[in-house]
């Protein structure tokens, strides 16, 4: 696990020096938090508490999407970047195992995505409480919290799995980024279910979503790991 840690630190060090990645990881959540707070405090919502509740719940959905979007930026550059910089071969020539390499690449994307999402969520709640008042936070139900804290790591994992599959086939970062956007789709499903209001959003629904996401994630990760073989990477990642 020592090598996994070494790889993680290297990945994050590189990401911090990549403006595109930084934009995706830091500025995108900040923009979403800012936009959400702006919507809650201006226009129709300024005077209407019901509108504020609706907008607050809409804003919460952003935090279901973010963990699927943020890892794209990191994972695409983490994998395609290796190809573009031709660093794959020297890296694979070290005694690092395939598992360490896969986990290192995957966790380097998942961990910051989930953490940034939770921090953004906390920031959003804090600013909302400060500017609008505490009553909105009382509408925050247990299923919502379970979604944001329980489902989002699964969404991030799914997103990273898709990105790794796409990146292993794509020739450049731009193409990988475009195709990896498909990874956001499962994140949209809970949002459609929540916003349609045709079913009660309770813990059973969240559990069902968690199981479905876990299965989908397992399938995607299975294929990602299958593709993530030293030899495949070296001979096919061109």
């Amino acid at each position: 696990m020592y090598r996994l840690k070494v790889l993680l630190i290297k990945e994050w060090r590189e990401s911090l020096r990549n403006k595109m990645v930084l934009f995706g990881v830091i500025f995108l959540p900040l923009i979403l938090v800012g936009t959400s707070v702006f919507m809650l405090t201006t226009g129709i919502a300024e005077e209407d508490p019901i509108a504020q509740v609706v907008l607050f719940n809409t804003s919460l959905m952003y935090f279901m999407l973010l963990p699927a979007i943020i890892p794209l930026a990191i994972a695409v550059y983490s994998i395609v970047g290796e190809k573009e910089q031709t660093t794959l071969e020297p890296l694979l020539a070290t005694p690092i195992s395939d598992t360490e390499l896969f986990l290192g690449k995957a966790l380097a994307s998942v961990i910051p995505a989930v953490l940034v999402n939770w921090i953004s969520f906390g920031l959003f709640l804090g600013v909302t409480r400060l500017l609008v008042g505490g009553f909105l936070l009382q509408t925050l139900t247990l299923p919502w919290l379970a979604s944001i804290f329980g489902l989002t790591p699964l969404l991030a994992l799914f997103s990273v799995g898709v990105t790794m599959i796409v990146s292993s086939r794509a020739s450049d970062a731009r193409a990988a980024y475009q195709f990896s956007s498909l990874a956001i789709l499962p994140g949209l499903v809970p949002l459609i279910v929540y916003s349609s209001m045709k079913t009660i959003v309770d813990m059973r629904l969240i559990l069902l979503e968690a199981v479905l996401l876990a299965v989908a994630g397992a399938v995607v990760l299975y294929f990602a790991i299958k593709l993530f073989r030293r030899e495949q990477i070296l001979t096919r990642w061109k």
């Binding site: 590189e14 071969e89 020297p90 020539a93 070290t94 001979t235």
Partner: protein, 305 residues
């Protein structure tokens, strides 16, 4: 140190490496020469446990390929065709990252040692994306040496280096040889291979020939003496009648004599020429360049005596 038996690698229908048999001793500098696409990189990748052979077997540093791959990777250093450095990381961070992956005891000390050796210490904090081609190549070499590997696979180590840096790399290879390190050197610089390698192999998907440069020349062309005469007389060769001469020919007014033991046969040859009335100006051995030998072998022109 390296033994390969029937090592073969196929990519679909294409056979990149065909039944390669090799034995390389500890402390040997082994040149692996061949044209682009000959399968040299595939061979290095197999021997450094990066890709598996389709068939055949190999032991590298007393470890079995396929069974002890991680141990092999720990014992070998690879300089790839392209430097492959993380351009958003500094030279220092690049080396430390690899030093830690190899689990070196004192990674900082090793990184410092090689940055100083390659005169990159003053630029250690510079991002490698800003480095010149030569600096990147030197840093990649430093990375390959960082964990003090028993075997070094060097793919074009002096490519992109200025003459001074190239000389430094050649001296480094010499010093590594004296430290009993085994070096597997792929190069297109035939003069470099001639100067550095104990043995060379000419390879084009399969092994064409292997041996030390001098014995390869002798095996291919025999030994030939060039005689400069003040008054070249094409008729003189017909009167030489010396049993050790296998062939004579005139090239640019000089007499070319093929024989097997010039150290003892040249004096007899010169005496005979003088007896026949020839004015001998110079006598020398014809040196065939490694380039000629390489080209003849690659084009299938086997010249032998």
């Amino acid at each position: 140190m390296i033994t390969a038996t029937g090592l073969t690698r196929k990519f679909g229908e294409l056979t990149a490496v065909d039944k390669l048999d090799l034995h390389i001793e500890r402390g040997e500098v082994f040149g692996f020469l061949g044209p682009n696409g000959a399968g040299k990189t595939t061979t290095i990748r197999m021997l450094s446990a990066l890709i598996a052979p389709t068939s055949g077997s190999a032991t590298i540093a007393e470890k079995t390929l396929g069974k002890d791959n991680r141990a092999i990777r720990q014992r070998v250093g690879v300089l790839t065709e392209t430097p492959g450095l993380y351009k958003r990381l500094s030279a220092w961070d690049n080396l430390l990252f690899f030093a830690r992956l190899y689990r070196i005891d004192r990674p900082e000390q090793q990184a410092e040692k090689y940055l100083k050796l390659f005169e990159l210490w003053d630029r250690r904090n510079g991002l490698t994306g800003t480095f010149s081609k030569g600096m990147r190549q030197k840093l990649a070499l430093a990375r390959a040496l960082l964990h003090e590997p028993e075997i070094l696979f060097l793919d074009e180590p002096t490519a992109g280096l200025d003459p001074e840096a190239a000389k430094m790399v050649r001296e480094l290879i010499e010093s590594l040889r004296s430290k009993e390190r085994t070096i597997f050197l792929c190069t297109h610089n035939l003069d470099e291979a001639d100067r550095l390698c104990d043995r060379i192999a000419l390879f084009k998907s399969r092994l064409l020939t292997v041996g030390d440069p001098q014995s390869l020349r002798e095996r291919m062309y025999g030994r030939r003496t060039v005689v400069h005469l003040a008054n070249p007389d094409p008729g003189i060769e017909g009167h030489l009648n010396l049993p050790f001469i296998t062939k004579t020919e005139w090239i640019d007014g000089r007499l070319l004599v093929s024989l097997s033991d010039p150290e003892t046969e040249n004096p007899i040859l010169v005496r005979k020429l003088v007896e026949l009335g020839a004015d001998v100006q110079f006598v020398s051995e014809l040196k065939v360049s490694l380039e000629d030998l390489y080209l003849d072998l690659m084009e299938g022109n086997h010249v032998s005596t």
